[in-house]
Symmetry: C2
Subunit: 357 residues, 2 copies
């Protein structure tokens, strides 16, 4: 599509101009199957977000933007009142799809502002403007990831094994990736980087997505179970940790995939640098600290097995928080498109928003 | 069988006098299937240990003892020289079955001493003595677990949620369990104990075995993935941690299932008591510290999926250390059949061996 050259070998979502649909890689079935699913309305996109066809805070934001744009196209033949009512329902539906990642709400606010700004125009014209806005947000996310990559790559030594948790890669964004974007940039700079990927139960984003995505780019990767990270640090096999974020509070506390907090505690014990790579759209300045970030609790079936396979007794009680919150004091630096913030604090984060790229 | 009343509802191995075989619960297929497998020679028992039909340091020790006893019965019609050569091969085979748990070597030494002591006698008489010795070791392990349980139960508050990693229960011992023995004893004492079970990738001993075993005894249990332990501690949902051990060094450092170290680091950060429950047979006083405990590295296929299911790319590099070592400084107390040792040290551990039960 015009203006959207492939940012890496992997693009989780792309607009199909011929069909007028957004196509997404079904991340539930990777790497066993590579399947593109097409979506044509807000409700289908909301359900794709809920069921994790698409996941990763920035990718969810882009998907939600397209969900709004698609709904506007679908409803463009209604009168103004019908259009407005339908759009309002679409915003609500998407806002309820996943609670923790703030990029979703950020993207919906941007789309809401675009809708409000276009209000005097006819629904069909508004639909065109909203689609343009979604395209721009997707392109901006890739630009932000590339800037994060460039800033972050400078932090890594010439040779390093980097541990990452979950998938904060091209698949979690509009392309290129945040944590994996830093690794891609370091590799592009000629650094010898290998990746240690936590498998990341229960959804196995590390084992399935991070491994697959790095293999597409021929970046060396070794898979471990989540509970091996401490052992690898004890053995001196981890030179740095880089993870993404689903929501960063004003003081630098951040929510990310469940298990991130454990990795941060271990990195601190072993004196290993712990970096968070995230675009400014992930920062929620309305939340003073991480304590008020809502933590999604998902279906217990995910913990009792994987996919169709169940290995635990069907009737066992389960907890399944999808995210945890890591305090800012455990973060060596926050890597954003506006630069690197060491020892994140409320003042430091506020300053990030004042600086141009 | 005479002298071996069921110590809990679950017994991972039991002698079948009618068939002259040792029967073991196949722990690879629990809880989906409850299947007893029968073994009649050392080589079959060694392969059961290697493939984790039976697992858990004390249970492995008992299985090895029966492996020797079975081999003696099988070879009892040979002449002395043939018998001695066959027994020597059996000891070697069993010693190679798993490297980390020291109870295996401890049990083999006991059997070797029994064999040496019985030497003037005919092979058939020796075979009878070795079987008696295996029975005694199994009964002694249950007695030790009950003593561990009694000592450990006193450490728990009246109401507590206890986190455990892997399975140090009846299934990991001759019956009753070490870590879960403490929980059983506390429950028997009228304490309100619930258990938080780490699923324990890659073999899922927590999700499959700990959950199943506690359900048999109607002890409340909640299952989490390994990477949720930190979150649960942050939420104040963990009052104490109790784990077993595969080998304890002279200074109190100990090897246990991979991931134990991470739980210990987190418990320290959160000021939560971290207890290790293990019989004296698990203590290897020949090793000054944990640094020289051999760590078994198992097949990568275990990490790429589970059972027949594979979710990671088949060609991805994998690490699969089966154990890690936790330094003594992270251990609140070591619970043995000879009592509770707070802040384990070389002197304290030496003293444990001087005290009668």
């Amino acid at each position: 599509m015009a203006g959207l050259c492939p940012p890496s070998s992997v693009q989780p979502l792309r607009w199909n101009d011929a069909s007028g649909r957004i196509e997404m890689i079904d991340q539930r079935v990777l790497p066993g199957r590579f399947e593109l699913l097409a979506f044509d309305c807000a409700s289908a996109v909301a359900s794709a977000i809920r069921s994790m066809v698409v996941r990763g805070a920035p990718a969810i934001g882009c998907a939600a933007a397209y969900g709004i744009a698609l709904e506007a196209r679908r409803l463009q033949h209604l009168d103004r009142a019908g259009f407005a009512a339908g759009m309002s329902t679409a915003f609500e539906l998407l806002a309820q799809s996943r609670p923790t990642a703030v990029n979703l709400f950020w993207a919906l606010q941007r789309m809401q502002a675009a809708l409000a700004g276009a209000q005097p125009q006819a629904p069909s014209a508004i639909a065109g403007l909203l689609l343009q806005q979604a395209h721009e947000m997707l392109a901006a996310d890739v630009r932000a990831n590339r800037a994060i990559g460039a800033h972050g790559a400078a932090l890594l030594p010439q040779t390093a094994q980097v541990l990452t948790h979950c998938n904060a890669g091209a698949l979690a964004t509009a392309g290129y990736g945040t944590a994996l974007g830093v690794i891609r940039s370091a590799v592009a700079d000629g650094k010898r980087i290998s990746v240690l990927a936590d498998e990341t139960r229960p959804f196995l984003q590390g084992a399935r997505l991070t491994v697959w995505e790095l293999q597409q780019d021929h970046i060396p990767v070794t898979l471990i179970t989540d509970n091996m990270a401490g052992y690898m640090m004890q053995q001196g096999s981890v030179d740095a940790v880089i993870v993404g974020a689903d929501r960063v509070a004003a003081n630098g506390d951040f929510a990310n995939k469940i298990g991130t907090y454990m990795v941060a505690v271990l990195a601190r014990r072993h004196g290993i640098a712990f970096y968070v790579a995230a675009p400014l759209s992930t920062i929620d300045r309305k939340l003073a600290t991480g304590a008020s970030i809502p933590i999604e609790e998902r279906d217990g079936a995910e913990v009792r097995g994987f996919g169709e396979l169940r290995w635990a007794p069907a009737d066992v009680a389960v907890r399944n928080p999808a995210f945890d919150v890591t305090p800012a004091e455990l973060v060596t630096a926050l890597i954003t498109e506006n630069g690197v913030l060491r020892s994140p604090s409320t003042a430091g984060i506020a300053a990030l928003f004042d600086e141009p790229d």
